[in-house]
């Protein structure tokens, strides 16, 4: 039993070393670049994700598709407006806590 366990552990360790040798040259330089970025870059990406989602719904998707099945054509039932309104608190939070 002990021999089986130690064999498995040896294979596991061998695989770990093999994958580390293959993947470390890819991820380590990436970590160095990302670790050196100033904090405002993080805020740009964070807030940018919310803004991009708003632009996708408001500009790129067809209005008919976004509002398919809406009960009546009032501005208050336009889901493009809903998207922006529901995103705004998040944008404010990410700008405030930066």
């Amino acid at each position: 039993m002990t021999a089986i366990v130690s064999t498995i552990m040896a294979v596991f360790e061998f695989l770990q070393n093999m994958f580390h040798a293959a993947l470390a040259p890819i991820f380590h330089p990436l970590n160095t670049v990302l670790g050196g970025l100033p904090n405002w870059v993080a805020s740009v990406f964070g807030v940018g994700l919310f803004v991009m989602a708003m632009i996708w719904v408001g500009v790129f998707l067809k209005k008919d598709y976004v509002n398919y099945g809406r009960p009546h054509k009032s501005i208050w039932t336009d889901l493009r407006l809903w998207t922006c309104l529901s995103m705004m608190p998040h944008v404010i939070f990410y700008l405030y806590f930066r």
Binding site: L49, M87, P89
Partner: protein, 520 residues
């Protein structure tokens, strides 16, 4: 830890709340006549009920305790899971995934995958989810009974466990998704009142927002990042900004909001597609308030109960309830915790029963070439599964919940699937050229790559790199699906009709055909 004593007024408030929830749930029984009523509320849910229900199903009683604890240890970065980890993903779910699930008239996500790929994909996906939801139900019940009711309140944990199981089980058994959703609406209101009440009193006690900031920042250098949402990439903590934006915002959250039956089932019960999408957006808006009431009290606890220390941070909320809230409000706060618990249990229970019937029983009947179940029979079996699930998970709550490591292991294992499953689902919807072989290869190799990334040491600066594992396994699976699909035979246009994005967006005839299929 000192037990929180309850005044008779508090006990009356909790009792009235439990009885009221049960009565409301039982009242919804009159709307259940067949399986569609039971599993997807007869496709009659308005957007506001969907939004309320999505939020409250997602927040459990343990979240109140655990998120406040994480905020005590790591600061507001703990709120990322409800902000970055929700709204962008809910927008993507609302406009990319939900219309297809809704228009195809399915009850479950695996059922959709079965139509797009094949029956085996549906069965395997359904089985994985049913096992996971079963474990989750047991652990949720045990942790709450043991860590909340016994440790905090000093109540008999077995009695508390069976009372909660009985109340939630009875109304979910009787009223199905309609009862789950409408009790969720009430439960969210109670949660908001209790949660914001605690936040307001905590801030009052600390001396206001500015005082909180200056007092926490004055506590030492290790607290300087407590008011930053996005922490540097090379932080050793669990929330580096790259992991939060890419791993959480673009992969884990999207997989959760689009592929989690407990969340998506509410939108499948919408009365129109507009309500389904609007419900997701409204839910996202309501969810933006959750960190204010679950994370900020954790920050206030740094000032009010500084003696706790990081290892006991999860005691922050119970301690503040004990020292700050007067009789009456204490009962309301515990009613809020019960609301969070019961809504999570009822939502998970209804979804597990739906998947068990649709993706396991239904598929096994197909393989044995038996006729599909009648609506009436499906309703009876659905109710029987609900009863069996709640009784068995309550009975097994202690043995499963006590082996918390097993649950953590299964949760970790499931997180390995999230990136690859999202890649397969996403390409299945937006790219008609994706084939069954491509999907299978992407899933298998993507999960293998997740294991490699997770068990190879020193690849990422974070000590717990699950966010990076999710992102890179997603990217890897995308590449595999594309390469293998291009090397294999394309699917026939007839099979893909109405199941891929381009055919539904541009083809009005396909939209009409799907509408007729749903309404027939």
């Amino acid at each position: 830890m000192e037990v929180v004593g309850l005044h008779p007024v508090d006990i009356v408030i909790i009792g009235v709340y439990m009885a009221g929830t049960l009565l409301l749930g039982l009242y919804c029984t009159r709307f259940v006549g067949n399986a569609e009523d039971f599993f997807v509320a007869g496709k009659a849910l308005p957007f506001w009920a969907i939004g309320f229900s999505i939020v409250v199903s997602d927040i459990g009683a343990t979240d109140f305790v655990a998120v406040a604890g994480a905020a005590y240890r790591n600061g507001v970065a703990a709120a990322n899971f409800d902000w970055m980890g929700s709204m962008p993903a809910m927008v993507i779910a609302a406009f990319l995934f939900v219309p297809y699930f809704w228009r195809s008239g399915v009850f479950t996500i695996p059922e959709f995958l079965g139509r797009r790929y094949n029956s085996a994909v549906q069965f395997i996906n359904g089985l994985i989810w049913v096992v996971f939801l079963f474990m989750m139900l047991a652990v949720m019940q045990w942790i709450t009974a043991d860590k909340l009711m016994f440790t905090v309140l000093g109540w008999n944990k077995y009695v508390a466990l069976w009372v909660v199981a009985a109340v939630t089980g009875i109304y979910t058994f009787s009223g199905g998704l309609t009862a789950v959703v409408f009790t969720d609406v009430v439960q969210l209101v109670v949660m908001y009142v209790g949660g914001f009440g605690l936040l307001a009193l905590s801030l009052w006690e600390v001396g206001g927002w500015s005082a909180l900031q200056s007092k926490v920042l004055a506590m030492g250098p290790e607290f300087q990042d407590h008011f930053k949402l996005l922490l540097p990439h090379n932080t050793t903590g669990p929330f580096p900004w790259t992991g939060i934006v890419f791993g959480l915002g673009l992969v884990l959250a999207v997989a959760y909001m689009s592929g989690n039956q407990v969340i998506v089932q509410r939108t499948l019960g919408a009365r129109t597609e507009w309500d389904a999408k609007g419900g997701m957006l409204f839910g996202g808006f309501l969810k933006s308030m959750i960190p204010l009431m679950v994370a900020l009290p954790g920050l206030c606890a740094l000032v009010l109960v500084p003696t706790l220390g990081p290892e006991d941070a999860d005691r922050a909320v119970p301690e503040m309830i004990r020292i700050m809230l007067p009789a009456g409000l204490r009962g309301l706060m515990f009613a809020a915790l019960f609301a969070a618990l019961m809504s999570s249990i009822s939502g998970t229970l209804n979804s597990a029963a739906t998947m068990f019937l649709t993706d396991i029983v239904g598929e096994m009947r197909k393989w044995r070439k038996k006729k599909p179940l009648s609506e009436r029979m499906a309703l009876h079996i659905g109710r029987a599964i609900t009863a069996i699930l709640i009784v068995s998970t309550a009975a097994l709550a202690e043995p499963i919940g006590d082996k918390e490591q097993l649950y953590v292991y299964i949760q970790t294992l499931l997180s390995f699937f999230q990136g690859p499953v999202l890649a397969v689902l996403l390409l299945g919807i937006i790219w008609p050229r994706a084939t069954g072989y491509g999907g299978l290869a992407g899933l298998v190799l993507g999960v293998f790559f997740s294991f490699v990334l997770n068990y190879t040491p020193d690849l990422f600066p974070s000590e717990d790199p699950f966010l990076f594992v999710a992102w890179w396994s997603f990217v890897f699976a995308l590449i595999v699906v594309v390469v293998v699909s291009l090397l294999t035979k394309p699917e026939s246009p007839e099979k893909l009709r109405g199941l891929v994005w381009s055919s539904v967006v541009s083809d009005l005839e396909a939209q009409k055909a799907l509408d007729e299929r749903v309404s027939s």
